[in-house]
């Protein structure tokens, strides 16, 4: 979030000004202006501004939020923004929030970070904003490497693996269902790949930093889950492993919590440097 378009680089400011100049209605122009201020960080480049402008120049039913119109005509923000708003909202003290995809609840990791004393509720003007580019790219590398690791592990081990592999475990951690290599490796690899692809696509599309960071957190979640399931699959001995499930569940939430907290603290440090004059 920025207080003025003056905080943008000249190139980024030019894109924003050109867009606002195309809006004849003063009220609508003010609304779009506020929307730009709310969703851009001081380091936003021209590409990021152009991506946000592209959202706002979609047909009127989509313009305010840049998302897809639902069947009932209501507007829905893009998935990375919904992920950020649900999964990382430190100002909201509720840990369980309505699910972004499907039914049920999601975990507001931002609230968890605040409860654990890792971050203040107002640690950033806009959650996950201002994260330096190297930190974002470094965070994205992890899920990509894990995804590649699953594929590499299968390529290396497949000739020694039994024809059927575990695809489901009971509450005691004992495999109670087996299937061929296709589903056994396809599901964990597919999950990891989907998360990494979403994060990579969000980055390549030049989406705002908070959305990229949230998508990266989601990528870690899917990559940890996929890699964990695959590890259980290839190390299965037929014995019960009651701690495997809880450990994997803890890691699936704990690792993204750590990554997102680290990114938020990096953004917080950038804000502090901005306000304290580069100290």
């Amino acid at each position: 979030m920025i207080a003025s378009l003056d905080q943008l680089s000249p190139a980024a400011r030019s894109v924003a000004d050109e867009f606002l100049a195309t809006i004849p209605d003063a009220d609508q122009r003010a609304e779009r202006h506020t929307h730009l201020l709310d969703h851009l960080g001081a380091g936003a480049g021209a590409g990021e501004v152009a991506a946000l402008v592209a959202d706002l120049t979609a047909p009127d039913a989509l313009a305010a939020t840049g998302g897809r119109a639902r069947a009932d005509g209501a507007r829905r923000p893009p998935l990375p923004r919904r992920l950020r708003e649900a999964w990382w909202d430190p100002e909201n003290p509720k840990v369980l929030v309505p699910r972004v995809l499907g039914w049920g609840v999601d975990v507001n990791l931002g609230a968890v970070a605040v409860r654990l004393g890792l971050l203040e509720p107002d640690g950033q003007d806009q959650p996950l904003d201002g994260v330096p580019e190297p930190a974002l790219l470094a965070a994205l590398a992890g899920p990509v490497l894990l995804t590649a690791g699953i594929a590499g592990s299968y390529a290396r081990e497949r000739t020694r693996l039994p024809r059927e592999l575990p695809v489901h475990w009971d509450a005691r951690g004992r495999a109670d269902r087996r299937a061929g290599h296709g589903p056994a490796v396809g599901v964990p690899f597919g999950a990891a790949l989907a998360g990494s692809a979403l994060a990579a696509a969000t980055t390549l599309a030049g989406r705002p930093v908070p959305e990229r960071a949230a998508a990266t957190g989601a990528a870690w979640m899917f990559a940890i889950a996929g890699a964990g399931v695959w590890a259980c699959t290839v190390t299965d001995t037929g014995e019960a492993r009651p701690l495997a499930g809880p450990a994997l569940a803890l890691a699936t939430l704990g690792v993204p919590l750590g990554v997102l907290t680290a990114l938020a603290r990096a953004g917080r440090r950038a804000e502090i440097r901005r306000d304290l004059g580069g100290r």
């Binding site: 100002e91 909201n92 003290p93 203040e120 107002d122 640690g123 003007d125 502090i272 306000d275 304290l276």
Partner: protein, 112 residues
């Protein structure tokens, strides 16, 4: 959905005025603002209400925030009223006084 208790509805209407009023005195950081508000139990304002409110007031341009060095630990984010915030506080205060005078009048005259 169950109806909200009347007192809760009343409180919601005055939280913003209370926050603007405290910030008019002096800049405050978030947790201190929460503590100062908690010193007035009748307001029953928690951190979960204050921080989203501060974010909304900042987006509306009524408050500004900036990090400052702290003598007793890491930097803290301080909130101050903007010119628009002061104007908003003045307007809300005038409205509040009229409301209080009107309600006092009604309650004194009406049946108990």
């Amino acid at each position: 959905m169950a109806a909200e208790p009347p007192l809760s509805q009343l409180r919601k209407g005055v939280v913003e005025l209370a926050v603007l009023g405290l910030l008019a005195d002096e800049p405050r950081y978030g947790s201190r603002l929460v503590d100062d508000l908690a010193a007035h139990p009748v307001l029953a304002i928690s951190a979960g209400t204050v921080y989203p409110l501060l974010a909304r007031l900042r987006r509306a341009g009524l408050v500004d925030s900036t990090w400052r060095e702290s003598p007793v630990g890491p930097p803290r984010k301080y909130y101050t009223l903007t010119a628009a915030g002061r104007a908003g506080l003045d307007g809300q205060t005038a409205t509040w006084r009229r409301l209080v005078d009107t309600l006092d009048d009604i309650l004194q005259k009406g049946p108990r």
